[in-house]
């Protein structure tokens, strides 16, 4: 039985449709209900619907053999997994953004609000800029507006939330998309199945 961790929500649904197209369908997956585990014994597949940020944890710990997760989560948490395919779905960017009229005071540490603490630290370390991290869990855009931070480091998809709040992107740090990942032990013991899925998904997404 192949255990697959998918992120709840639109990305998870898109990936499930791809997987069902290549023979891993599971009735009830797209129904609007509160079930978290879906199994199709005939096809030898079991899906877990988990919080997007937790997919890497499930796969690294072996609770799931494979999963789909945003590159932002992999960069932030550094999960020890194999990253077998860029699905090209859920494309967005991790960016530095602030108020439209913001100008940087380079004479003091930069106050950065973000939920991507490690990505922000790595980026600013790479340009040798001293920062003060303010860890937030949501509504990151609010931070510069109320003077909590100078800038934010956050995911930008279309930029409409920024525009509506008179903010804009100053720097793009890294492009993001959904990745197909595998547990290191599962990769070895289910190599044929997992390699085959990666190859079929590549064909479907190219």
């Amino acid at each position: 039985m192949l255990n697959v961790a998918l992120p709840k929500g639109r990305l998870g649904n898109q990936v499930y449709e791809l997987l069902s197209k290549i023979g891993y369908e599971c009735p009830g997956m797209l129904d609007d209900n509160r079930k978290l585990v879906f199994e199709n014994r005939e096809r030898g597949v079991r899906y877990f619907l988990v919080k997007p940020a937790d997919v890497g944890v499930y796969v690294e710990s072996g609770a799931a053999d494979v999963g789909v997760v945003g590159k932002d989560i992999l960069l932030e948490h550094g999960h020890s997994v194999y990253e077998l395919l860029d699905l090209g779905l859920g494309k967005c960017r991790v960016c530095v953004a602030s108020k439209n009229d913001w100008t940087e005071d380079t004479g003091r540490p930069l106050r950065v609000a973000t939920k991507f603490v490690n990505i922000a630290k790595t980026y600013y370390a790479s340009i040798n800029r001293e920062i003060e991290i303010i860890k937030l869990n949501g509504s990151i855009e609010l931070a510069p507006l109320v003077g909590l931070s100078d800038v934010i480091v956050d995911i930008v998809e279309t930029g409409s939330t920024l525009r509506e709040n008179n903010m804009r992107v100053f720097t793009e740090i890294v492009p993001i998309s959904a990745r197909f990942i595998a547990n290191k032990t599962s990769y070895r013991f289910m190599n044929e199945t997992i390699s085959n899925i990666a190859e079929r998904l590549r064909e479907e997404t190219e």
Binding site: E60, G62, S80, E83, D86, N183, T185, Y187, R188, N191
Partner: protein, 376 residues
Amino acid sequence: MANYPGGLRRDEQVSYVLRGLFESRGYKRYKSNRFEEYGLYLENKSFLPAGNVVTFNSPDGRLLALRPDVTLSIAKNTKATRTSGEKLYYIEDVCRLSPRAMEYEEISQMGLEYFGGIDNFAVAEVIGLALRSLAEIDEDFVLDISHMGFMGRLLEMTVPEEDARAEILDCICQKNVHDLKKLAEKAGVSPADADRLGRAASLYGTFGECLPAAREIADGDAGLLEAVGELENIYGILSELSLSGNMRLDFSIVNDIAYYNNVIFQGYVRRIPRAVLSGGRYDNLLSRFGHDAGAVGFALYLNEISSRYTDTSGSDVDVFILYDDSADMGALLNKTDELAAAGKRVRAERNIPEELRCGTVCRFADGELKEVARDA
């Protein structure tokens, strides 16, 4: 699998049997100090899986560390030369930072080190012991073999910028061919060379399947072909063992070139989600310590075994004896001895602890045991 003394957990069973196995091949037990000069780890930081070390001051003011690794201490102190080998094994706890929990944890390790004139036979013999060690944990196992000379040389040949090599190496370790190709393009690597790197990173399978593909990736380069030849030679020696069917070739396994050269390997069993055995040839570490000798060895992570092979079935004791003030205590003591001598796990107390799982519950009265209900 061997027969074990009763009551041992799987990790204890494994270490019990492996002691016998290692000693049968001439390895001597080495007991190292729990503390070591911090300088040893500071100078060899990248040899450690995680750089962080717990430090403290000794009464005479020296900065000491709680041992995060055993190999460094043993390698530093060996007296072996190329003509006078030394074979040692250890069972020790090491203190490391867990990357998952970001807390220090005590890890139980067992391993062996062979210092001396290391040749392909010596490497094959150590890999053979690694195969037998894995088989002792679980019959469902694989041992993945890589060669530092292969991936190191391929990277050096194809990626001119040293900075780019580290990032590309990360992609190789993650079998991440899509990002590898993007980075390679940025670093000015030709598409054909980027493709070779990608093929080497994703190569995985039996030696029979993968050796021809490795030769194709080598594309006539003498250094790469030499590494493939060594792998083939070692596999040829090991093919005498039936367990060699569990060997796989995987160039995505990479260690620090400053310490490791030649063959490296990692072992996996199906029930454990990460490598349970790790080892290889590390002549470079010995030359850093000024020793004129080669080295090969491996470590097994016993704590990974204990966490995945838990005994949740059965009972905590076979016989629980309830008694009260009227009991003849001397006769009761004899009775518990009798049962224990017959191989039973026995407890005699006035009350049964709430969480205790008991096989049989008896009451001791008039010098006799009478089976009763737990709540009697």
